[in-house]
């Protein structure tokens, strides 16, 4: 069940989006549970009371508490980066600052059915990948690791360290090559360095020679891999074959 929140002080827009999402949910056979909120305060109250959403449509020009503050709250709440945000605005122009919140997309009013469906599809593609897990053997334990929880992997002296989103680490004997081939390549993880594999979901900025994660961690891209990684990015998201 996908939980979606719509935060907009204009109830007509809330119902419009709700309608399209319900239709899309049926079309793609995905169960959706939609909660509209007419103010930022109501939404934050819901978050604070423990509600969690997979996808949030957030109006930037809210009446009192503005959309940016709400976005900040979302990113600081418990499930952090796993809640996808779609900003909605009446203004066509927007600042780079919005990207600090790692939104999934940015829509401009007048909202069109196509746009909402397109965003929903993108959401499905991204979130669908990450409910998967893979198992590893660490010492005597067999552990199940959720793909969506992995920030990156690194290796020191033949021990692979999986760094999770809460900064906990799992260590076990293996090689990055093996893990990449067997498990992670199919999730579009990036093998950027002979010592690092990165989960693109946690990337904040890509540069030619390094990657900066959401939490500020800097991961270098090995010089012999830069062109390949760059090509991968050109091909990502259906841009180029």
């Amino acid at each position: 069940m996908t939980r979606i929140a719509i935060v907009d002080d204009n109830t007509a827009i809330c119902s419009f989006i709700e309608g399209i999402l319900a239709k899309s949910g049926e079309k793609y056979n995905v169960g959706v549970e939609i909660e509209p909120y007419s103010s930022g305060e109501d939404f934050i109250a819901a978050l604070n009371s423990g509600q969690v959403f997979d996808l949030v449509f957030l109006d930037i020009e809210l009446n009192q508490l503005n959309g940016i503050d709400v976005a900040r709250c979302i990113r600081q709440s418990l499930d952090d980066e796993n809640q996808q945000i779609v900003f909605i605005s009446a203004k066509e122009q927007y600042s780079l600052d919005l990207h600090k919140f790692h939104p999934l997309d940015f829509l401009v009013k007048e909202l069109k059915e196509d746009d909402i469906e397109r965003v929903f599809l993108r959401f499905l593609k991204i979130s669908g990948l990450f409910n998967d897990t893979f198992t590893i053997k660490s010492g005597r334990d067999i552990l199940k690791v959720k793909i969506r929880d992995i920030k990156y992997l690194t290796v020191v002296n033949r021990i692979v360290y999986i760094v999770l989103k809460d900064n906990k680490q799992i260590e076990y004997y293996s090689t990055l090559n093996k893990e990449y081939k067997e498990h992670l390549a199919s999730f579009n993880f990036l093998f950027v360095h002979k010592q690092y594999i990165v989960n693109p979901q946690y990337v904040s900025i890509y540069e030619y020679d390094k990657i900066i994660l959401n939490d500020g961690t800097i991961i270098p891209i090995g010089s012999s891999r830069r062109k390949e990684i760059r090509l991968q990015q050109l091909k990502s998201d259906g841009r180029l074959k």
Binding site: L96, H99, F106, S204, L240
Partner: protein, 429 residues
Amino acid sequence: MFSDTIYVLSYIFTIYSMYNFMTAFFDEVRTPKPVLVLSYILYPVIICTTYLTIDIPLVNLAVGIVAIFIITLNYKSSMKKRILIDVFISILFVVFDSIIAVAMGYTNVSPIEQGSFSYPLGYVSIALVTFIASLISKKFKKRNSQENVSAAEWIASIAIPIGSMYIIIIFLQYISTISKAKTVAGIAVILFINALVFVLYDRLSESNKAKLDSAIFEQEKKFYYEQCLYMQQNEENIRSFRHDMKNHLFTVAENIRTGEYKQAESYIKSMVNDKLHNEKIYSNTGNIAIDSVLNYKLNEAAGKGILINSDIKVPFDIVVDSADITSIVGNLLDNAIYAVSRVAEQDREIFVNLSYDKGRLFITVQNKYNGIIKMSKGRPVTDKDTAEHGYGLKNVERTLEKYNGHIGYQHNDGIFKTTAMLYTIQKSV
């Protein structure tokens, strides 16, 4: 035997000088470390082997030039620049060799006779002088030098060091007939001339680049001006609409008051669909460079009856050089417009997409095309009567390189799609 050993040792020392030269003239290494190290090791090995076996000065010189060239292959650069640096370093060697040979009293050095030059102290001196020269060269290190010299200009530039080598060789054959001082002075003058040529080449490259930049800025000015006109016109439309608003609202209010709700509804609907959607502003990101080039080119295309399908979504405050983005987007659109105007009228459509995501700017242009697209060096080649178009894509690639960007081409089923990507400059970390 002793002399040979000193020769070999001094050349091994020269590896370091060579390294200094390379790091002074080139920026980035493009081969893995082991290959780089191997090339440097190969340098003295090749030269010493030639010296120990054949030992004909002309052959030594030729082999030296080749050995240096092998080292330059490890660095990111154009072939032109590699050859140029190779030749300049070689002329340095020839000059130092000759001056020291003459200073040490060598007469009659024949370039084609075996074993005409064998003097340990000489070898050591040459190695030292070369080393000092390499240290000096590091002072002239310039960041990010791009080549902007035409083939003809380049040929003229390397002709001087090559010609100089010839002159020195001839000179040396007559050492016994000219005084030592004059010979040394003569060779020193040749060195001076070559140094000047080197500096001039640099200036030439800069000047050519400035010309190119200036042309791009002129274009950009044109786009900005048009953009200003659009914005002005847009303002006027909004003003007149606002003015009319009062009247519209009176009418609607009247309709509602008299209970003619249907009338009111249809009136409002027509207002919403009407005025403000009339002006075609394709791009309104707030980034002036992007907006101006897109609006200019797309309106031009629309004027030719081409259907425009655009999706532009970029933050207004991304950091890209305005001239660069104008050049890239402008060139890509020019190509698309050109290609699509040779297609059947009903198929004339261009699709443009600009988006920003996580530090990267993506530019995609898609259009139908007629005929066959030939690729050369990974880039599509156009026919003879439009020489500028091949140039256009070359410019795009060159500009993208500044941002470590890349461009990909894809064509199938009569649809041609190019996607360019560049890493934007991050303003705060």
